[in-house]
């Protein structure tokens, strides 16, 4: 087993792929934490699914699988999906969760329709597009990774620059307005960042499981700290770890998609956090309560004994 890991890690392409998944993990972890606190995680899920038609349309227009335009196409249809969700939930009696589910499935359905068209077209290299559904980090080549690394780094830097503004906008939007921040613009900027992180991430995780990259590292990080800055950093780290291990596990078998393994790793980290995090972990809390009870009982006994000596 060690040998397998060594061999696969020595391979130049694998190194690229690992670097790629690390950066994807970081950017989706970072933006996922803010999305989580804004209660927009599931919008992220919808965006991921909704990127499929954008990818297919771009492919049909260009007739080749070149990453950058595909990502642009994905981002456009992702943003369109968030726009539809907001329009439906604010202009009709349909609630937000219904709007999300509706947009998610209808866009994905349209994506599937277009995917069948893609596979019929003579230039069609359908397997390439299928990788978007479950993620196939191994299919990445050096130039793709450079592009994605650049995008992920840019997203992280922008988030870092706007940290203060995004924080107050998330925590107390009313107050942010009172401060004179352009909240509408900031909302749009954040959604654009989130959509970008998603479309960059679907290469590795796939459209269906992308939600996990936004939610699971972030919610795990929340268990370890009460500071937003630390939560965001930790979430990025957890995302990166999941990316690395998921990619390694998926190389053990041939043709295994990376996405599911990344998700399982992330969920493993989540379980550890849920149980063992200091302060908030369920097990930690339980042990603490047990100890406290014991100490109280002990003190009670001592006091009784003290009394009986008197």
């Amino acid at each position: 087993m060690d040998d397998v890991i060594k061999i696969s890690l020595a391979d130049a392409n694998t190194q690229w792929v690992l670097l790629g998944t690390i950066l994807l993990g970081i950017s989706s972890g970072v933006l996922g934490s803010i999305a989580l606190l804004r209660k927009q995680s599931l919008i992220g899920d919808a965006v991921a699914h909704a990127s499929l038609p954008g990818i297919c349309v771009t492919f049909l227009l260009l007739g080749e699988k070149s990453l950058f335009p595909l990502l642009i196409g994905a981002a456009i249809s992702g943003l369109l999906a968030t726009f539809c969700i907001q329009a439906i939930s604010s202009y009709s009696i349909i609630k937000e969760d219904t709007a999300i589910g509706l947009v998610l499935s209808v866009f994905f359905g349209l994506g599937i329709v277009l995917l069948t068209k893609v596979s019929q077209s003579s230039v069609g290299n359908k397997s390439g597009l299928n990788d978007f559904i479950f993620g196939q980090a191994a299919a990445l080549v050096g130039s793709d990774v450079k592009l994605m690394a650049g995008a992920a780094a840019l997203l992280t830097v922008i988030t870092w620059l706007l940290f203060k503004e995004l924080k107050v906008l998330t925590f107390d939007p009313e107050f942010a307005k009172g401060l004179g921040l352009p909240t509408k613009l900031l909302n749009f900027v954040f959604l654009t960042l989130l959509v970008s992180a998603i479309v960059v991430g679907i290469q590795a995780v796939g459209v269906i499981l992308m939600a996990a990259m936004l939610i699971t590292p972030a919610i795990s990080a929340r268990y370890w700290t009460d500071s937003l800055a630390r939560m965001i950093v930790l979430s990025g780290v957890f995302g990166a770890i999941s990316g690395v291990f998921g990619t390694i596990f998926s190389t053990f078998g041939t043709g295994l998609a990376t996405g599911p393994f990344i998700v399982v790793t992330a969920t493993f980290i989540f379980f550890i956090s849920l149980l063992f995090a200091p302060e908030r972990g369920l097990l930690t809390k339980w042990v603490k309560r047990l100890r406290l009870n014991k100490r109280l009982q002990h003190e009670l006994v001592l006091r009784k004994e003290g009394k009986s000596y008197q």
Binding site: G101, L102, V106, G111, V113, L209, A211, L256, V263, T267
Partner: protein, 292 residues
């Protein structure tokens, strides 16, 4: 019966099953939980296959219903441990679905149950996948499963109509007058799981969400009465299935994808033009008010 007729019948049955179940999901704000369940039933089906070593629809239904209810339970557990609801849903469904996909790609390689199929369904194969049940002649498996689930769903709705209605409308009051709210919740989740499995073959895991949510959402824009909403939702489900099929054969594309798209188009039409609740009708009536 002809090949095409079977596809239309199966699609319509799926439309009815999903349509009536979906109404309750929308009213109870459970759309995303249903989305989660539609993903996780994949794990249920894979486990049922691995344990029973057969593709028997009955085992699949049981496995899926179990995992579906389990999904709802897990979400509830995480939520009550202090995690916000959307995150609980996200963590649970992605994990269970990921495990399902991994198991499927490791062990179920040679089976008819492949990932693409599970996601997108393949209604074109439905008329050939025949089974014989009891005294009945050989019939398509999907038809039998959908009919069974439809009967179960209808029975549940008829028997528990009052309870479903009041727990959807005001769960606190329902609990106060002694309606077992949680039980009703899990029964509904069981309905969703079974409906999903039965529709799986025809439309697949993700598109079944469109069939569950879209007709109900459109119907919700048309009426305020629950019983009328149920009927309309079923009719719209059937309409989307039939139009979707013909559109798909005309354009030569995925039938299930086309059904989902038509569902979306129907919703969009009502979103703008529904009498009273449509965006344009609201605007129009406002303008009339201003003029008078």
């Amino acid at each position: 019966m002809s090949y095409e007729a079977w596809i239309l019948i199966v699609g319509s049955l799926a439309g009815i099953c999903c349509g009536i179940t979906g109404c309750f999901l929308i009213l109870r704000r459970l759309a995303m939980l249903a989305d989660a369940i539609s993903h996780t039933v994949l794990l249920g089906m894979v486990l049922a296959f691995l344990i029973s070593q057969s593709l028997n629809g009955f085992y699949m239904l049981i496995g899926a219903a179990a995992i579906g209810v389990l999904t709802a339970v897990f979400v509830q557990l995480l939520h009550s441990s202090g995690i916000q609801e959307d995150a609980s849903i996200g963590v649970v469904f992605t994990f269970l679905f990921a495990v399902g996909v991994i198991l499927l790609s490791l062990y179920a390689d040679h089976v008819h149950l492949d990932v693409d199929h599970a996601l997108m369904g393949e209604i074109t194969f439905v008329p050939w996948d025949l089974v014989k049940w009891g005294f009945l002649p050989e019939l398509p498996k999907a038809f039998l499963m959908l009919t069974t689930v439809l009967i179960i769903n209808l029975l549940i709705i008829i028997l528990f109509y009052k309870e479903l209605k009041i727990t959807s409308f005001d769960p606190q009051m329902a609990a106060a007058i002694g309606v077992p709210v949680l039980l009703i919740h899990y029964i509904l989740m069981g309905m969703v799981s079974m409906t999903t499995v039965a529709s799986f073959d025809s439309v697949g895991a993700i598109l079944v969400v469109a069939m569950l949510i879209a007709p109900g959402a459109s119907a919700y824009l048309l009426t305020d009465k629950l019983n009328i909403m149920l009927i309309m939702s079923a009719l719209l489900g059937v309409a989307a299935a039939i139009i979707g099929y013909y559109l798909a054969s005309w354009l030569d594309v995925s039938i299930s994808g086309s059904m989902a798209t038509v569902n979306g188009v129907i919703f969009a039409i009502f979103f703008f033009f529904a009498p009273h609740k449509g965006v344009l009708s609201k605007r129009w009536s406002q303008r009339k008010l201003k003029l008078t």
